[in-house]
Symmetry: C2
Subunit: 239 residues, 2 copies
């Protein structure tokens, strides 16, 4: 689906930076201490909390260590609180967007709408040189499908989110055109998995991505997926 | 992913009935008034609530009308509260299922874990003669991806859930082997869409399904999807 993570992160400058602009600053350039615009919620949900398991924390620490030389970067994550300006930007592409202000509840980013530890706990890291994004994901008890296992839709959500981040960093504002997932094995609730995503090819406005979903020890392959994203042309409405 | 909706609904008899056993009883045989086992939560979330829009309610009424002669049947939906016995049944297939009792929170069915109107509002109806399942779905503000639109993962979740119900009714306990979605247009938040799913073919243990996601007036095609499900053999563990 549509990805406006650049809007979500309010960091077009940082996205350009990741795409090969200015040298990458060392040590957590995505920190919420940075000066984002006023409408951003400053609670960064990609940082460790007490619900994170030992495996989750261990992998987080490993990637933070890798980030020290700037080759990897942690991507912050907010519940998202879009400004009216952002909504107007989206209407450039989709004129049938409903006026959110008329609705009773503030829209929020889907994977961040569970209480700590009950739903999606995740953090993503990006490697600019290799066009790779890694998502470390711990699925809580409210993501259940069959007893004891994650719902397929929860896995699809994390895969789509990881692809979306990869695609936006390379392509700017993009939209998922297709998502193809092969489920090899079900993922037990509470376990930690790693989604390894990469941009395989860019052809004009098309971006081709692939990923796998593995156990922490890399011995179990849970899923494989591919996706096609399309860069949106801000001069054209899609409605 | 794995589908044990028969377990979830605690209605193997009803599933057999839908597959061509005893004549279908008229008027809502899935009602929670029926005698399910003690561990089932009796709040049926597929019934109208105040958050349902006029479109949602209208379609619900239309399908309830179609259900009067028994050709369509409303499928009830619970947050699911699995018994230890059910978890044991799942371990026949997957011996790496973690002991849920050791965890702090009760697992619950993923698409039913939002407060009324904030997440997934949906109801499914099944047509036995045509092997079709229709899902009427209203996406709330906590399912947001890009500003004003549903997250692709939320759409995938509803598609996977609808496929899962179709597959289980035909195949019993099944597992999603693949899910392929083409996103044609993004779905605005708060709008109601209809997922029209059907079992296209059964070859041995394989079930091939397809669906489309349309607007209520059928003028807008939002997505198309196909999926392969595999019937599980209770004599074999997959781990």
């Amino acid at each position: 689906m549509l990805r406006s993570c650049a809007l979500r992160l309010r960091t077009p400058g940082l996205v350009r930076c990741l795409r090969g602009g200015a040298p990458l600053p060392a040590r957590d350039p995505w920190s919420p201490r940075r000066s984002f615009s006023a409408e951003v919620s400053h609670v960064d949900h990609s940082l460790p909390n007490p619900s994170w398991s030992k495996d989750m924390r261990l992998l987080f620490d490993q990637f933070m260590k890798k980030s020290e030389d700037g080759s990897w970067q942690r991507l912050p994550s907010y519940k998202s609180k879009f400004s009216p300006k952002t909504e107007e930007q989206m209407k450039v592409f989709f004129s049938d967007a409903k006026p959110i202000k008329e609705q009773r509840s503030q829209p929020q980013l889907f994977p961040r709408n569970f209480e700590e530890g009950l739903g999606f706990e995740y953090v993503m890291f990006h490697n600019h040189a290799e066009d790779k994004t890694v998502c470390i994901f711990q699925g809580g008890p409210y993501l259940q499908g069959a007893p004891g296992f994650l719902h397929g839709g929860a896995i699809a959500t994390m895969i789509d989110s990881t692809f979306g981040i990869s695609a936006l960093i390379v392509g700017g504002i993009v939209m998922t055109a297709s998502l193809n997932i092969n489920f090899k094995r079900p993922i037990p609730l509470y376990s930690v998995v790693v989604i390894n995503s990469q941009v395989d090819k860019v052809e004009g406005r098309k971006l081709f991505l692939s990923c796998n979903v593995q156990s922490v020890d890399e011995k179990t392959l849970y899923s494989e997926a591919t996706s096609l994203f399309v860069k949106l042309d801000p001069k054209k409405s899609l409605t």
